[in-house]
């Protein structure tokens, strides 16, 4: 497959793409509308989380604004028994996995390093160390291969991540063992303040070919095309044909995180250019033209989004602070003498501050 795969153009026209059509043959209007709702909801989650951060309720939030199609299109292509290893920005993928909005913000409120149990949703804790998770995905895929099931491991990462040794080593291992893993790279054009051309002088997708891994470049703002190529890649993996690399060409319309100020390093014109390609607008245009998205259904979607946002806010504000002694929990699976000693001493220390007679 060469060239950028697209099924819905920026202005909302359905384009033919014989190579991949078959992968979304089942996506009728109803399911498209569901994808639309997903995207609206996750955008709303972003807005609400950003507001919560501004209000001091979250320490930080990494918005995915602009990347809704890349994440929903791929996230909705996955099977429950596939396993996702993602970075900090894949909140929409997590949403697709059924992770609650409250769980999404636990980490950013600072109450835990992991918002959920990875095995409950088959999605690992978002990875902060750039690129590290691509190796975990590859290793998990080797496990799948050993067991002989047809599940797939999926690694999400950014354009910047492709520079890290780990991501390249992951491709070496995946190719060498023909591991059932999909490398899903969201090229959102930026790694904080660094444009993608600093990471690569050639298309990101070309990288994969150098490892003997088939690569697909897809319009990352086209939810249908993303779903099609992801399904294709998953299917290759399920059939034992090994890894596939997907470059979803998209754009980070917001700041890197709420701590970032992108006006320091990028031109307003660039943002404007990408706003025209907005993944939600284009699907809305298409669905309106087909009469699927009506004022009524649109309002229903917005209501759902508002409900989710309210749930997020309530969930976030309801999060309890962890207990001091939880510091010492789960560092080791088995008892550890030194840590137990530290815990005991800290407990005695804390008890000094308690009114005489109080117990803990």
């Amino acid at each position: 497959m060469s060239g950028l795969v697209q099924l819905i153009s920026a202005d909302g026209q359905r384009l033919p793409a014989p190579d991949v059509e078959t992968w979304v043959a089942d996506i009728d209007d109803e399911r498209l509308l569901a994808l639309y709702e997903d995207m609206v909801v996750v955008r709303r989650i972003d807005t609400e989380a950003t507001a919560l951060q501004r209000q001091g309720e979250l320490a930080l939030w990494p918005p995915l604004l602009g990347q809704e199609a890349a994440q929903i299109g791929s996230g909705r292509a996955l099977r429950d028994d596939d396993f996702v290893f993602a970075s900090y920005r894949e909140n929409a993928v997590a949403y697709c996995r059924g992770i609650s909005v409250t769980d999404l913000v636990r980490v950013w409120r600072g109450t835990t390093q992991s918002g959920w149990n990875p095995f409950t949703y088959n999605m690992a804790t978002p990875q902060v160390i750039i690129g590290a998770q691509t190796l975990h995905a590859t290793g998990y895929a080797l496990g799948i291969q050993n067991r002989g099931t047809d599940a797939v491991a999926v690694a999400y990462f950014g354009d910047g991540a492709t520079s890290e040794g780990d991501v390249n080593e992951a491709m070496v291992f995946a190719a060498s063992y023909k591991a059932p893993v999909v490398f899903f790279c969201q090229n959102n054009q930026w790694a904080i303040s660094e444009p993608v051309r600093l990471q690569s002088r050639t298309s990101i997708v070309d990288r994969a070919l150098g490892f003997g891994i088939p690569g697909i470049q897809v319009d990352g703002n086209d939810v249908l095309a993303v779903m099609a190529v992801t399904r294709l890649a998953l299917d290759r993996a399920r059939r034992g044909e090994g890894p596939t690399f997907i470059e979803a060409v998209t754009y980070r319309m917001g700041p890197h995180t709420t701590a970032d100020d992108p006006t320091r390093y990028r031109e307003p014109a660039e943002l404007a250019e990408w706003q025209v390609k907005d993944p939600i607008t284009r699907l809305a245009t298409y669905l309106r033209a087909r009469g699927v998205l009506t004022d009524e259904s649109s309002m229903a979607v917005d209501n759902t989004a508002d409900q989710v946002a309210a749930e997020l806010r309530a969930g976030c504000l309801g999060l309890a602070d962890p207990e001091p002694l939880s510091l010492f929990e789960h560092v080791y699976a088995a008892p550890h003498s030194r840590l137990a000693e530290q815990r005991d001493r800290y407990l005695s220390y804390l008890q000094m501050f308690e009114p005489a007679g109080a117990t803990r």
Binding site: A59, I129, G165, S193, E194, P322, P324, Y349, F353
Partner: protein, 339 residues
């Protein structure tokens, strides 16, 4: 004397600027250090002044940054590498430990690697995972490296220049939680010898007679606060800012302990194998007969840095330091008595 009031972050910026003005082989490298000026703005304005070849935004690869910096050192340059956060130095560990630290001795002195590795470090700012580590002990155990930390703007301004000028590789640990704290900086070159803290020397910040309190980086201010609080209780604490973590200035610490007979060491990093172990072992070797009590360590626990809401319990604070002081003074049971 020309002095100026500035934040610690601005002082590093000013020190770097001066190093770059004085020596055009000084090159800054790192992620987002150019237009953005770094996520902490330490390099703000420097790319504008010196251009993109001397203030290089690098691809997102820490081993790549350190490895290419070594090549630049071979070519006669003096690279200053920014590691964006403490927790991101580990991908570069191999290049640092096996290359940066060993190149000079490997080549029997033929190659010098006058690298500075700037690392914003430590907790106390409510950050996400991997943004609050204190990895200094990995490097103080690595022969061939020098390791320093700073706690105030004046030291920052001068020590960064010394680090850059050093022909040995230097890890320069910047306490993030102190970036925005202001202080006087002596800018005058004429008075250099008086104001410039010699790299490698600890600094007695407060003299005292009852107990020596040793620390560095982000906890220096907490130690000073503890000393003030203790003095209200009639306890006289001598506060030492190590500044140099490798080599350690045992001369200064030993002199102090010979006077006080008691020592508390505090740092954010885990206790086991942390810098406190080395200070405790070293001071026991050097001042055994002066010690009235075993050296006391007040440190982060032996756990991965906890989530933000828990860091206040993990990090040594005024109360925990004073508790340590009490133990050193036998005013409270210590480990040996707890069994």
């Amino acid at each position: 004397m020309t002095t100026s009031t500035m934040t610690l972050s601005k002082a590093i910026n000013a020190g770097l600027r001066r190093s770059m003005e004085n020596d055009d082989t000084v090159i800054l490298m790192g992620e987002d250090i150019g237009k953005l000026g770094g996520v902490y703005r330490i390099t703000e304005g420097l790319q504008e002044s010196f251009g993109p070849r001397r203030v290089m935004d690098t691809p997102l690869a820490e081993s790549g940054i350190l490895g290419t910096a070594i090549g630049l050192a071979y070519a006669g340059y003096r690279p200053v590498c920014e590691i964006q956060f403490d927790g991101f130095i580990y991908p570069a560990f191999d290049q640092i430990v096996s290359q940066v630290a060993r190149m000079h001795s490997r080549t029997r002195g033929a190659v010098t690697v006058p690298l500075t590795i700037r690392v914003p470090f430590g907790g106390g700012i409510g950050s996400a995972e991997h943004h609050s580590d204190s990895p200094e002990a990995y490097f103080t155990h690595t022969s061939g490296l020098r390791v320093v930390s700073v706690s105030n703007p004046n030291d920052a301004y001068w020590v960064i220049q010394e680090a850059v000028a050093s022909n040995d590789p230097v890890l320069f640990f910047e306490p993030k939680r102190r970036y925005h704290v202001k202080g006087e900086v002596e800018l005058d070159e004429a008075e250099l010898d008086e104001v410039r803290p010699p790299m490698g020397a600890a600094h007695v910040l407060v003299e005292g007679t009852d107990v020596t309190l040793v620390t560095y980086g982000g906890l220096v201010q907490v130690a000073l606060d503890a000393a003030r609080a203790a003095s209200a209780d009639g306890i006289s604490i001598e506060v030492i800012d190590l500044r140099s973590l490798s080599p350690l200035d045992f001369e200064t610490v030993t002199r102090s302990v010979q006077k006080t007979g008691r020592i508390v060491i505090t740092h954010e990093a885990a206790e086991s194998g942390g810098l406190g172990a080395e200070v405790a072992a070293g001071i026991t070797e050097r001042a055994f007969y002066f010690l009235q009590h075993a050296p006391v360590r007040v440190t982060g626990f032996d756990i991965p840095f906890p989530p933000a809401k828990l860091e206040k319990y993990h990090l040594p604070d005024l109360d925990r330091i004073l508790d340590g002081v009490d133990r050193a003074l036998d005013r409270r049971n210590s480990l040996s008595e707890l069994g």
